[in-house]
């Protein structure tokens, strides 16, 4: 397998009033070694559940209903993450695939020092490491993420540190076992712009130094433009468009992508009104049998109701799910 990760037809369901409802369907994605794939969409589109499914972290009653996620594991060879035993998953999660979340505070334990928590992440996969070796590794990764006063920071508790420092520490913990894939779920959303800029710069630097692949999840197209080579746009449980970042920003094909880009650019133009996509993301579990964007789409026609448009290649390596570009219907 040339790619590091190949997700094929991922489908996620949940139980609501004892009935199965579909939250995500027909999600296929590839990540090449060393590549950053951006995933963008309004909240509730299914970005986080996609990431969580890969590491078997879906909370009950959510579950994967079908699909594959083939991962080139350095230790296990090519494996399907979705059908992996919990034991095998433990040797991948936090080691070969690491994850960073939006709220660093919720992923760190308030009653332990930073050093204790970093060592724990290390011990989990390297049980026989010497104390000194562990300490040195902690110092090394904190240096990589530009933490000042490292020894003092190692002895601190989470509440004694700022949000920016905590997010750096989360990145350090993610990097401590040199993962091949880093999943970052809105890692800068809770931070101020100048701190966000520092973290984005840091992630770009680490990606190049370590040649790690990154799955970067955000609702902010600006952040995508700064980090990602390839972008998948999610809408209501589906991928509606996928292309290189340049292609997507300069030649958006799907009306939803066009709307997202327009709503950011209209902020930059002094005018009387801001552009906004009318309506809201439909609540999860209402996957319809026709185009999900129909009731918000300015190009919608009656014929758009004839089925769910298929995700097809509309230009080289540029995929879009819309009848304006192809009449093909998903079966």
């Amino acid at each position: 397998m040339q790619n590091l990760l190949e997700i094929k037809d991922l489908k996620i369901k949940t139980l609501r009033n004892k009935e199965e409802v579909m939250l995500l369907d027909k999600v296929s994605l590839n990540i090449a070694p060393g590549q950053c794939l951006g995933i963008v969409g309004e909240s509730g589109c299914g970005k986080s559940i996609t990431a969580n499914a890969l590491l078997k972290l879906l909370p009950y009653p959510l579950s994967v209903s079908s699909g594959k996620a083939m991962f080139n594991s350095p230790s296990l060879g090519t494996v399907d993450l979705l059908s992996l035993e919990e034991n095998a998953m433990r040797s991948i999660r936090g080691r070969e695939i690491a994850m960073i979340f939006q709220e660093p505070m919720t992923s760190l334990d308030p009653i332990f020092t930073i050093e204790r928590q970093m060592k724990e992440a290390l011990e989990f996969h390297h049980a026989h490491m010497h104390e000194k070796e562990k300490h040195d590794r902690c110092v090394e990764v904190l240096k990589q993420v530009n933490i000042p006063r490292i020894e003092q920071t190692l002895g601190s508790y989470p509440h004694q540190l700022s949000g920016g420092q905590l997010q750096r520490i989360m990145i350090a913990i993610a990097l401590i076992n040199t993962p091949t894939l880093l999943i970052a779920d809105e890692p800068t959303t809770a931070l101020d712009v100048t701190i966000q800029a520092q973290i984005l710069e840091l992630m770009n630097k680490l990606k190049h130094e370590q040649n790690a692949s990154v799955m970067f999840i955000t609702h902010d197209l600006g952040v995508i433009a700064e980090t990602s080579e390839q972008v998948a746009v999610f809408y209501s449980g589906h991928i509606v468009e996928e292309a290189s970042a340049e292609e997507l920003f300069y030649r958006p094909a799907h009306p939803y992508t066009e709307g997202l880009i327009k709503s950011i650019s209209s902020l930059n133009e002094k005018g009387n009104q801001l552009y906004s996509i009318p309506g809201n993301v439909p609540p999860g579990g209402e996957l319809k049998s026709y185009c999900h964007f129909l009731d918000r789409c300015k190009y919608a026609e009656d014929s758009c109701k004839r089925g769910l448009p298929k995700l097809v290649e509309v230009a080289p390596k540029h995929y879009c799910r819309c009848f304006r570009h192809s009449m093909e219907v998903e079966v």
Partner: protein, 322 residues
């Protein structure tokens, strides 16, 4: 009559830090150190800065939701601190405040009708009929229907709740409103809808507004003048367009440079600002920005620059950019 509806002079608000059993004051959080600006009638004036720089404290000190430590606020020709309680109560109806978080600022036990009638009843002597008429007129503008009047806040989405907060602040037809991050808690797509509503009402009611935000894109869109705050003080203030085009203060420039660019071909990042904002309980000597400023020299580390008129705007810096 002055051309300014509101003038704030050298506003300062410190919070005491208490320690020990007898709660002795051991120091102060210098949340607002030195803030001065003026707002014209019908103008939208923005205060922008990163979290913790003192924006909310400044806003609340202006309308006296917090008692400032020092400084003067002149509203409509009157110094607010000289007003009696009764006079201040009357002024309140002309000066409203919209909070960031619609979840906590709306009383969950009141329905929309009660939420909107309360300010009317506090400030005016109206018959129930007159109250009803004004409420109907207002909900029409914010896109809430008559049958929704009997619903409670939890039955509305975040965007709708913030519309209701806006209506509650504007129903007394004030001349001035402070909006403290009114859309920051909302999803991006909903932000635009609420901002459009706010700006339409501002124009229609000829309101003067102080718009507080950490979002530089939103500030550019909404305001004609802006004050950039850092660690309790204004660093640069003046025409929004001019400052965004050519910031003269090193901090304004760093802040504007940090905004992600939506054009992927321009993603080559200029080097970002190093370090973090210092603790306002223990601010650096001299210029508050000096520990992080690439242009800092000995004077910067000794003397705090004051806000002075320079090239058509106000700027607090010993070595402004060219």
């Amino acid at each position: 009559m002055s051309e300014y509806l509101l003038t704030v002079k050298n506003l300062k608000t410190y919070f005491p830090i208490k320690e020990g059993l007898i709660k002795r004051t051991v120091g102060y959080v210098k949340a607002v150190e030195d803030v001065s600006f003026s707002v014209k009638q019908k103008q939208v004036y923005a205060i922008v800065g990163e979290s913790g720089c003192g924006k909310s404290t400044a806003g609340k000190s202006i309308v006296r939701l917090i008692e400032p430590t020092a400084g003067e606020v002149i509203f409509d020709g009157k110094t607010l601190s000289s007003l009696s309680d009764e006079e201040m109560r009357l002024k309140r109806r002309d000066m409203q405040f919209i909070f960031q978080n619609p979840y906590s600022s709306l009383n969950p036990r009141m329905n929309v009708y009660q939420l909107l009638s309360e300010p009317l009843k506090t400030h005016f002597n109206l018959t129930e009929n007159e109250v009803q008429l004004q409420i109907l007129e207002m909900i029409d503008k914010i896109g809430i229907t008559e049958d929704q009047l009997w619903r409670y806040p939890h039955q509305f989405s975040g965007g709708q709740k913030q519309r209701i907060s806006i209506a509650r602040a504007l129903i007394t037809k004030p001349r001035f409103v402070i909006a403290d991050e009114p859309v920051s808690a909302l999803d991006v797509s909903i932000q635009a809808q609420v901002l459009n509503l706010l700006i339409n009402l501002q124009k229609e009611m000829e309101l003067a507004m102080v718009f507080i935000s950490h979002d530089l894109n939103v500030v550019r869109f909404i305001s004609s003048e802006v004050a950039v705050m850092y660690l309790g003080s204004i660093m640069e203030s003046g025409s929004t367009d001019e400052i965004y085009q050519k910031p003269l203060h090193p901090y304004s420039k760093a802040l504007l440079d940090a905004v992600p660019n939506i054009d992927p071909l321009k993603k080559k990042r200029r080097s970002s600002l190093k370090g973090e904002v210092p603790n306002p309980a223990n601010p650096p000597q001299g210029c508050p920005f000096s520990p992080r400023c690439v242009r800092a020299d000995d004077i910067c580390r000794k003397e705090k620059p004051t806000l002075n008129f320079y090239k058509g705007r106000n700027i607090a810096c010993h070595n402004p950019l060219e």
